[in-house]
């Protein structure tokens, strides 16, 4: 009986959080309107969410691209089509690895920082004091961060893919001796702007929305203690990773499976 009660309580907790999360999203979206009149608020957040994630994104992109160069070459050379390496590297990055790995890195770098920052502001009554000063925290604190997160994800994913393609070139052409002209020509011929690039951008937009939503909501919904903030930070990373991987499966099915 107690196990059943515990299950029921857990489930009610989950439903409650889901409800609060959606109300939260709604109020944040409403607060985005007035935000457009004060671009300075979100440009500052764009710096701390986007620019500060640049280094880890660029370095990871380079390594992932170089590994793709090796792995792609090993597979392709058996079929005598090593010159298709450019296509393989670019498609893997643009369709999958760019959006997904960027979102996972984003959760660890920017998402956890967002949760911790907002959670601490709540724990130290800063959000409360803003409300009492007749300043809506949704407009002043939450919406700018939310918008900056959504905006930076596709840009970061694009950079990740671009650096990755360069990394694949370094290994494929520089080390393994694939023809440089073939690397680029094959890529140009076989990567489609709509089927591949646009779909990748849509993915990273969706991931950006979900990752930032989770991060900002976890911060705002945190229990206002040191322990609560640390737990919320961990939850942000875990939940974002799960949500991104599950959504990636669904989106991939919709985009490429239907074709």
């Amino acid at each position: 009986m107690t196990a059943l009660q515990a299950l029921g309580r857990w489930w009610l907790g989950v439903l409650g959080r889901l409800g609060r999360g959606h109300l939260f999203l709604l109020r944040t979206l409403v607060a985005l309107g007035p935000l457009m009149l004060r671009p300075r608020l979100w440009i500052r957040e764009l710096y701390s969410v986007g620019v500060r994630s640049l280094l880890i994104i660029l370095v990871s992109g380079l390594f992932v691209g170089m590994v793709l160069g090796y792995q792609g070459y090993i597979t392709l050379v058996d079929f005598g089509s090593a010159e298709a390496l450019g296509t393989v590297v670019a498609l893997s990055l643009v369709r999958e690895l760019g959006p997904v790995v960027t979102a996972l890195l984003f959760a660890g770098r920017a998402g956890s920082a967002l949760t911790a920052e907002i959670g601490l502001m709540k724990a130290t009554e800063q959000l409360s004091s803003m409300e009492m000063m007749a300043v809506d925290p949704y407009r002043r604190v939450l919406a700018p961060r939310f918008f900056a997160g959504i905006l930076s994800m596709p840009l970061l994913a694009a950079l990740f893919s671009a650096v990755g393609v360069a990394g694949g070139y370094l290994v494929g052409v520089g080390v393994l001796g694939v023809d440089a002209g073939a690397y680029w020509a094959q890529m140009q011929a076989n990567v489609d702007v709509f089927d591949d690039v646009l779909n990748g951008v849509i993915k990273s937009l969706v991931f950006g929305l979900v990752a930032t939503w989770i991060a900002v909501f976890e911060g705002y919904d945190t229990e206002p203690t040191a322990e609560g903030v640390s737990r919320a930070t961990t939850r942000t990373v875990v939940h974002t990773a799960l949500a991104v991987l599950a959504l990636d499966f669904i989106l991939t099915g919709l985009m490429f499976g239907a074709l």
């Binding site: 502001m121 009554e125 409360s128 004091s129 409300e131 009492m132 007749a134 300043v135």
Partner: protein
């Protein structure tokens, strides 16, 4: 003669939290222009009461009227308009940690008005001068002592010259000099700006020296009220015990517990 309708009227308020009833049948009327003190033991819900007045918590029953408006029935927009006329000094100060002292005090002015920057600057410096921290304008909240942070928070709370000021424990953790300055400052601000003030505190002497009217709350209701001088004469056992700090009397010092001797002798008890 100023308007006689009360600025704050709390009617039959009931509020429960975490399964505990904090207020039950609370009634308070604070006239315009008064310094009202709310005193009571720790955990009696004084901070909670200020949050109810500010519209941050919703009561389970009863009403809170501020300037004739029912705080909990206002639209968001109207509530925010009303809050612009209130200032609140938080127990913890609650300064914004990513802004320095100057920007903290400027924050409510910049967010709520369209005053040009030179005017904002003059206003901020005036408020900082009032709390003696004009020289600390470039420090960050992390570089302030607890008492300094409280004074900055006070400067910020009065930045827009509110009509109602709420102070949550303004005297705890201050050195005697700062304490004296804050006590006179609260009274002076009150008289100069013609505001209504609510001071929540358990510092009997300081609060009595500036309050016009004192409410003693315990067990979720007002147990005694009156001008401080009359309460000092101790009309009831309850107020005598609280105001003179006596351990024995109707106010329980102990959280409910089993019989002391039995508890000690119970060898099987795990803790």
């Amino acid at each position: 003669m100023p308007d006689k309708t009360p600025w704050i009227e709390i009617r039959d308020l009931r509020f429960a939290r975490g399964g505990r009833t904090i207020f039950d049948g609370l009634n308070i009327r604070i006239p315009r222009g008064q310094v009202a003190a709310i005193m009571g033991p720790s955990g009696s819900g004084k901070t909670t009461l200020l949050r109810l007045i500010g519209g941050q918590l919703r009561p389970d029953r009863g009403q809170v009227l501020v300037d004739g408006q029912d705080v909990h029935r206002l639209s968001r927009r109207a509530l925010y308009r009303l809050r612009r006329r209130m200032g609140m000094l938080f127990q913890s100060g609650a300064l914004l940690t990513d802004l320095d002292v100057f920007d903290n005090v400027a924050f409510p002015i910049r967010e709520n008005t369209r005053l040009p920057e030179p005017v904002v600057r003059a206003l901020v410096l005036m408020k900082l001068e009032a709390v003696g921290l004009r020289g600390a304008r470039d420090l960050h909240p992390a570089e302030l002592s607890g008492g300094m942070a409280r004074r900055v928070a006070l400067a910020r709370a009065i930045a827009l010259d509110p009509e109602l000021m709420m102070y949550d424990e303004p005297f705890t953790g201050l050195d005697p000099i700062t304490m004296g300055v804050i006590v006179t400052l609260i009274r002076r601000l009150h008289d100069a700006l013609g505001m209504t003030s609510i001071v929540v505190s358990h510092d009997v002497a300081e609060t009595s020296s500036i309050a016009d009217w004192v409410y003693l709350i315990s067990d979720g209701r007002v147990v005694d009220q009156g001008p401080p001088a009359r309460l000092q004469e101790a009309a009831t056992d309850w107020s005598r015990q609280f105001l003179q700090g006596l351990p024995d009397g109707p106010v329980p010092f102990h959280y409910p517990a089993p019989d002391y001797l039995g508890d000690l002798m119970n060898a099987e008890g795990r803790r």
